[in-house]
């Protein structure tokens, strides 16, 4: 993405609530898409920098959601601090997962998925802490900041937008550093990078933690936005499949791709396809994904850029 495009995005982001703020429906679609976009960003970061495809990001999402819900409901921690703690909780969960870094490719992807299942079952069975399968209801919503009530749609939008932007900047900073280059090299040539002095295990571990933190924050935000949580929902496989679809669709090698992908896929699906075919609309979505991979395997952004040049 060119520089001017990056800057042009900012006012566009700001304009969204002004133009659409009154329409609860559209706003809630956008917020839901941004949540998925945030997880997609975190997934793409792990894939791009860590060289790891994960099928278990729902683990981080769910842990983040639960940690934040529990500390705010049971300990009365303020919501924003709770969201940060949610991210940290997910990060800690990823520390438990560090042994899987020994695994490669699909082995890693599935090992993470196994953790997601395990966390889900823990959330179901550890009733005293999590409320079991009944879940946690009445999770406090987003607070009032500077006199503005963030618990509305516009407030939620601004919050998730801030989170996503912050994460995107962090992602970009990592990628541009030498660590980013070394990480990129590691994917298919781990031995080659090690013998020149790269501590690849450490770097990969750090990326896993960063990615977990991001997904955890997304989960925590969502818990306070939906105000309700239960294991099947928090650890639902959709929290990883949708982000993967969004990331690859938008272009998982770019930073904006996953978020743009999430918005496009989600909004197209809900606003257009669903109106056309109310119950079978995912059929169209599936077709769209297939077409996208065949005609522009590097993602939507690449497609747009190619059009730009042509």
């Amino acid at each position: 993405m060119q520089r001017w495009q990056t800057w042009a995005m900012l006012p566009a982001c700001g304009a969204v609530p002004m133009l659409l703020g009154a329409d609860n429906y559209i706003m809630s679609l956008i917020v839901a898409a941004m949540v998925i976009g945030c997880v997609a960003l975190s997934w793409a970061l792990l894939g791009n920098l860590g060289g790891m495809v994960s099928f278990g990001h729902s683990a981080f999402f769910g842990v983040g959601a639960y940690v934040s819900a529990i500390v705010t409901v049971k300990l009365g921690v303020p919501v924003l601090a709770g969201i940060a703690l949610g991210g940290i909780g997910a990060l800690l969960a990823s520390v438990v997962m560090l042994p899987v870094l020994r695994l490669r490719g699909p082995y890693f992807a599935l090992a993470i998925l196994a953790y997601a299942h395990i966390f889900r079952i823990l959330a179901t069975e550890w009733t005293s802490l999590t409320g079991g399968s009944g879940g946690i209801a009445n999770i406090p919503g987003l607070p009032t900041i500077l006199g503005y009530d963030m618990s509305g749609k516009t407030g939620a939008y601004l919050t998730i937008l801030t989170i996503v932007l912050a994460f995107a900047l962090a992602y970009r900073a990592i990628r541009a550093s030498h660590y980013g280059t070394a990480l990129r090299a590691m994917h298919d040539s781990e031995d080659a990078t090690r013998v020149v002095g790269v501590n690849s295990t450490l770097l990969k571990g750090l990326m896993l933690m960063v990615s977990a933190f991001m997904a955890g924050v997304a989960g925590a935000f969502n818990a306070h936005y939906i105000n309700f949580l239960e294991p099947d929902y928090a650890f639902n496989g959709l929290w990883v499949t949708l982000p993967i679809v969004a990331a690859i669709f938008g272009g998982y090698r770019t930073i904006a791709g996953p978020v743009v992908g999430a918005l496009v896929v989600y909004l197209l699906d809900q606003l257009v396809f669903k109106t056309l075919i109310p119950t079978g609309h995912q059929l169209v979505l599936g077709g769209l994904l297939v077409a996208m991979i065949i005609f522009s395997p590097t993602g939507l952004l690449a497609l747009l850029r190619r059009k730009d040049h042509a």
Partner: protein, 237 residues
């Protein structure tokens, strides 16, 4: 600088390296030769940490490194090349060197990188994708360049000259000699071309079936009947 004591590596029932004892000093250029499958590459792998020895010790700079992870051995100054080149994927030739330098030495020195590129005749290919756009010999040059970028004290070269044309070989050897003299880098080089070994090394060690069967000047070693029988087939030097 490097001391191997009774080093062994086994793969299942096969002993690829068998109780090798060997010392390499700071100023040595040692030729490592032996029949195919004798265990030369495996020995390099053990020294750089890619395979875990089943017995024996490895000391580098008087420090026991047997449990030291690969990346730290690299930072200590063990540089190596791969017989089957392993460029860092998804990076350009230049980025390969940047990563090697940054992580091998902790600092970045662009001039040094240019110098190495020039040295290895890769300057005009600096922006090619290393993994997909180089010919085999260029990949071998890149192997050496990467190792140099980490500013090693000991350089383990695994058949980097194989496949090079005569003039290229000469240039490369000149470069190695210069490096050796200028930076005082110790070199162990695996090579099947005996002329090359003769002109480059003051000392040759021979491995056969994982065992060290000869160690001495090229002249002495290549006239050793055991070596002739198992490796060269005729007297050289």
């Amino acid at each position: 600088m490097l001391e191997l004591n009774n080093l062994s590596v086994r793969f299942g029932g096969l002993t690829a390296v068998n109780a090798v004892t060997l010392a390499v000093g700071t100023h040595d250029v040692v030729g490592l030769v032996g029949p195919n499958g004798a265990g030369k590459t495996t020995l390099f792998n053990a020294i750089s940490g890619l395979v875990r020895p089943t017995g024996g010790t490895i000391r580098f700079d008087r420090q026991d490194v047997i449990r030291t992870p690969i990346y730290r051995r690299a930072r200590l100054g063990i540089g190596r090349t791969f017989q089957i080149p392993q460029p860092m994927h998804e990076l350009t030739v230049r980025e390969n060197l940047v990563v090697a330098q940054r992580f091998g030495t902790g600092k970045i020195d662009d001039d040094k990188i240019d110098e190495i590129l020039e040295f290895t005749s890769l300057a005009d290919k600096a922006h090619r994708d290393a993994a997909t756009e180089l010919a085999l010999t260029e990949l071998k040059a890149l192997e050496v360049a990467k190792a140099l970028a980490t500013t090693p004290k000991l350089l383990l070269l695994d058949e980097v000259l194989a496949g090079l044309e005569t003039s290229g070989k000469r240039r490369f050897m000149g470069m190695l000699k210069e490096m050796h003299e200028r930076f005082g880098v110790g070199i162990v080089i695996i090579e099947h071309d005996i002329e090359t070994i003769n002109s480059l090394c003051q000392r040759v060690v021979v491995l056969n079936f994982g065992q060290l069967i000869a160690d001495g000047t090229p002249e002495a070693v290549f006239n050793d009947p055991e070596v002739i029988r198992s490796y060269t087939g005729a007297a050289h030097a």
